[in-house]
């Protein structure tokens, strides 16, 4: 479990690092937020890939949000994914984009649905994709035993499953002894 204060402190540290890296994470503020604001941070990113060499590029605009989920007492990663024409990228496409090495072998259809689905945004109340938070607490507990930058370690572990890229600059800038390899840990999105 993470307390709200610990999360606030981790967000402040993370934003300081992000500013030095220059990748655009910022605090989200909006006047029409009625619910208590759990210090949401956001970053936009464009994802472009070609399925084959001569195919037109497949472009997705991502908008990533991290906020504090009070029920599970952990940070949670939410995101929207749109095409250049403004249409939503369907969930089934996003399920296919999850790199296979991040899912356990013989991953069942069900497991993908338990990992990533569409929900009502807990703060903005629009539809949004969400990585489920039930496995996060155990993962963060492990990370915090060796990493001071636990929010960064968590985000860089779960993010790639949904296209979020974090620059290697984070590792270079922050003290190398803070960011130990997390390869030895069970991955948080595998159950």
């Amino acid at each position: 479990m993470t307390t709200l204060e610990e999360y606030y402190a981790a967000v402040a540290d993370f934003l300081e690092l992000s500013e030095r890296v220059g990748d655009g994470w910022s605090r989200f503020s909006s006047e029409d937020i009625r619910s208590p604001c759990f210090e949401m941070i956001r970053r936009r990113q464009t994802h472009s890939r070609r399925l084959t060499a001569d195919a037109p590029p497949d472009i997705i605009f991502f908008d990533y949000h991290v906020y504090f989920n009070e029920a599970f007492a952990v940070p949670q990663l939410l995101f929207s994914a749109c095409r250049p024409d403004g249409s939503l990228v369907p969930l089934t496409t996003l399920h296919e984009l999850i790199p296979k090495h991040l899912l356990p072998e013989a991953s069942e259809r069900e497991l993908v649905w338990e990992t990533l689905s569409q929900i009502e945004h807990p703060i903005l109340h629009c539809p949004i994709y969400a990585l489920h938070p039930c496995q996060t607490a155990a993962f963060i507990r492990k990370i915090r035993s060796f990493s001071k930058s636990w929010l960064l370690s968590w985000l860089s572990s779960v993010g790639p499953a949904v296209g979020l890229e974090l620059s290697p600059q984070y590792g270079i800038i922050s003290h190398t002894d803070n960011i130990t390899s997390i390869n030895t840990l069970e991955h948080p999105i595998s159950t």
């Binding site: 009625r34 619910s35 208590p36 009070e70 029920a71 599970f72 249409s87 939503l88 369907p90 969930l91 259809r109 069900e110 649905w113 338990e114 689905s117 569409q118 929900i119 009502e120 807990p122 109340h125 629009c126 539809p127 489920h132 039930c134």
Partner: protein
Amino acid sequence: MSDDREILRELWNGQVPVHFVLSSDETSNMEAPQPYFVLVPRQTYFPLCLDKVNRHFQKYTTQTAAGQEIWLDFDGTPLRMHYPVGVLFDLFAHDALLPWTITVHYSAFPEDELIHLASRDAMESYFMSTLKEADALKHKVTIVSTMQKKDHKQLWTGLLNDRFDQFWAINRKLMEVSSENPYFRYIPFRVYQADKSFIQKLVKPVDEEGRRQTLADLLLQVFPDHQNRKVVIQGVKMSPQTPLQWLSEHFSYPDNFIHICVHEK
């Protein structure tokens, strides 16, 4: 909670009368579509009971509408079908003429307002994740995570097939309290008002001094202005003196949340 078990069954059996009409945007001009009347269980979700409605209207729709994802509106407001049917009814139709008239659409799905729930997988995933959230609020060591996969399935199929005994055989474990620990950690609830987003907060069933908290205490935390409001839960106008723990055990929807509909007087 065994004393009040009859309440659980009464609430489970609650239904709302719905009059579905096809949106005029969707009709091919061959023949005027007949409306469709049906009683819908309060505890379920619209995507789980629209198969017949769908079949009924498909024959009237235009070519382009065929095969598109169904969505509903009441009086111009798209219905968030991830809320239980009873919540939507208490929120929008509490003083409407019965049967409740809902318009069926196939084209122009409002993606910026509604979640895609066309597949059973999507609805099951949404339901189970809400139930897990309620469990995490109620128990420090969650119960769902200690259950077997088949128990998860039984909760879902119990709701899907409208089987009270099947559902409650498992749900009982999520609602149980013991004499040494008679309270949940927090009360899972959401407060709804028409035209506004729902409100969710951390509220405990007892205060610092160990006094039982009531619905009035909860409402004061959500609306500190003391204004007089009409409060409806599961179709029942609820007394403000109702203890929260009792309410959570008896008036929660299958997702284990108390969904509270509030109307300005």
